[in-house]
């Protein structure tokens, strides 16, 4: 900002004043009506609820052209939002939460994506946005009273709802970032409290992404240090059956957000910016296989 303007505004604010009655209660009530806050949910599902609210804020400023622009996978923004709704709906189905949109037929995410996209094509982008948000919020509300260790399944991946919802949060984050890049909007990162459990899931997935890619890390141990807000340190056995880590064979240090996005299928694994000490071949195996679970 121009120094003269800053000086002028500061001068105009040199006489702070207080309204006769606090505007706070009516402000918060008005805010709720203008933009829905993150859905109330369990603490462990809040990273997801927060990304849904952020994506919705981004969608709120989308105009007609933005909705028909291709974002990823050859999908327009409207189709991308339908895709998110499709997968959220499948996860909802797996834990008995309401499934919105067209009647549930196929339960793999690509078929369900096609069904929801076909359904949404007949609706306006604004309706698609509302449908997606309604599905996400219904899922959040259902999770409010659920144990995070409740079994849940999506695309044949059997796990617990606590991990599945973190994965949904990561996918929503990655796609909101895709959409923000296309719209040339700067989207701030989630708060550290939301990044941390997401990064933890990503770290715990590494033995599985290796195995899924045909590499067995059994008997090897990774020391992972993720830097930045929400980062931390993990010492991980790389065999999926193992629970106790050994002496680390390799140390990898990387930025926490870049690491989460690597698992989310963004960024070139071969050019992943990381400091590696120890077994360099093992590090390369870990990093190149890391995006194995990232689909559309």
């Amino acid at each position: 900002m121009d120094p003269v303007e800053r000086l002028y505004l500061d001068a105009m604010m040199e006489d702070p004043a207080v309204p006769a009655h606090s505007l706070r209660p009516q402000l918060l009530a008005g805010a709720r009506a203008r933009r829905r806050p993150a859905a109330p949910t369990a603490v462990w599902a809040q990273p997801y609820a927060g990304r849904v609210a952020a994506m919705d804020a981004l969608l709120a400023s989308a105009v007609d052209d933005d909705w028909s622009r291709i974002i990823v996978e050859g999908w327009t923004l409207q189709e991308l939002v339908a895709h998110l709704a499709a997968k959220d709906g499948l996860l909802a189905a797996s834990v008995g939460a309401p499934v919105l949109g067209p009647p549930l037929g196929a339960t793999d995410s690509m078929s369900r994506t096609r069904d929801v996209q076909a359904y949404e094509r007949g609706r306006s982008p604004e309706q698609t946005r509302r449908d997606w948000r309604a599905q996400a919020d219904a899922l959040c509300r259902h999770l409010a009273d659920l144990d995070p260790a409740t079994p849940a399944s999506l695309d044949g991946m059997d796990s617990v709802i606590g991990d599945h919802i973190l994965a949904r949060g990561l996918e929503t984050w990655v796609h909101s970032s895709d959409a923000a890049a296309t719209a040339q909007v700067r989207l701030p990162d989630p708060i550290a409290e939301h990044i941390r459990p997401t990064a933890d899931l990503c770290a715990r997935l590494l033995p599985w992404t290796m195995l899924f890619s045909g590499l067995d890390g059994a008997g090897r141990t990774l020391h992972l240090r993720l830097t930045g807000a929400g980062g931390g340190e993990w010492t991980l056995p790389l065999g999926v059956e193992e629970t106790t880590p050994g002496t680390p064979d390799v140390h990898i240090t990387a930025d926490v957000v870049t690491f989460c996005f690597l698992l989310g299928g963004r960024g070139d694994p071969a050019a992943f910016p990381a400091d590696v000490t120890g077994d360099a071949d093992l590090a390369r195996d870990i990093l190149t296989t890391a995006p194995a679970f990232s689909g559309p």
Binding site: R6, L7, Y8, A11, P37, A57
Partner: protein, 183 residues
């Protein structure tokens, strides 16, 4: 000038749909925004409306604010100022048109991020030159020289606290001087 850490965190929280963060932003900045709106409009009811609207805009469109480009305080103040000035001009137009044909009209086009038109910025610079030397030097160092309160104190050979109160006194005088001219 980049935004401080607090602004970034509150922005992240508001983008993530955290209502409590909006409440915190209101608690921290509402008296400044209301004070500014009141100074420009001289109408408590209008100033309340503008204040409320400014915070609602931040909640509804949080991505319009970019912490890399400035503080939240300055961003909210810019919106409040624009709305307050729009209100005053609309009132002027109403009065003038009630009296008869308009003799002159101020340039209505305003650049998106511009707070002051060229002639208004010039008036602010003039008002700075009219300040007593001790106050003028402090303001010039802080705003045009980019110095901190401490550096201003060092250069003027006074304690930091004195530098700070000189700058605040200068800001107050400037606001009064500019308000007198508007009458």
């Amino acid at each position: 000038m980049e935004a401080p850490y607090d602004d970034r965190l509150l922005h992240q929280r508001v983008v993530g749909g955290d209502e409590a963060a909006l409440g915190e932003v209101y608690d921290r900045l509402s008296s400044l925004i209301f004070g500014l709106s009141l100074r420009v409009t001289r109408d408590r009811v209008i100033a309340e409306d503008i204040t409320q609207e400014v915070f609602l805009v931040f909640w509804e469109r949080p991505l319009a604010y970019d912490p890399d480009r400035g503080t939240l305080r300055a961003w909210l103040a810019t919106i409040a100022h624009r709305r307050a000035v729009d209100h005053v001009r609309a009132e002027e137009r109403r009065r003038v048109s009630a009296l008869g044909p308009r003799l002159f009209e101020r340039e209505p086009a305003r650049l998106e991020d511009t707070v002051l038109a060229a002639d208004e910025a010039e008036r602010v610079r003039q008002a700075v030159t009219s300040l007593p030397d001790g106050l003028r030097e402090a303001v010039e160092l802080a705003y045009f020289g980019g110095r901190t309160y401490r550096q201003v104190g060092e250069e003027l050979g006074v304690p930091e606290g004195t530098a700070k109160s000189r700058i605040r006194l200068a800001l107050r005088r400037l606001a009064d001087a500019l308000a007198e001219e508007e009458v």
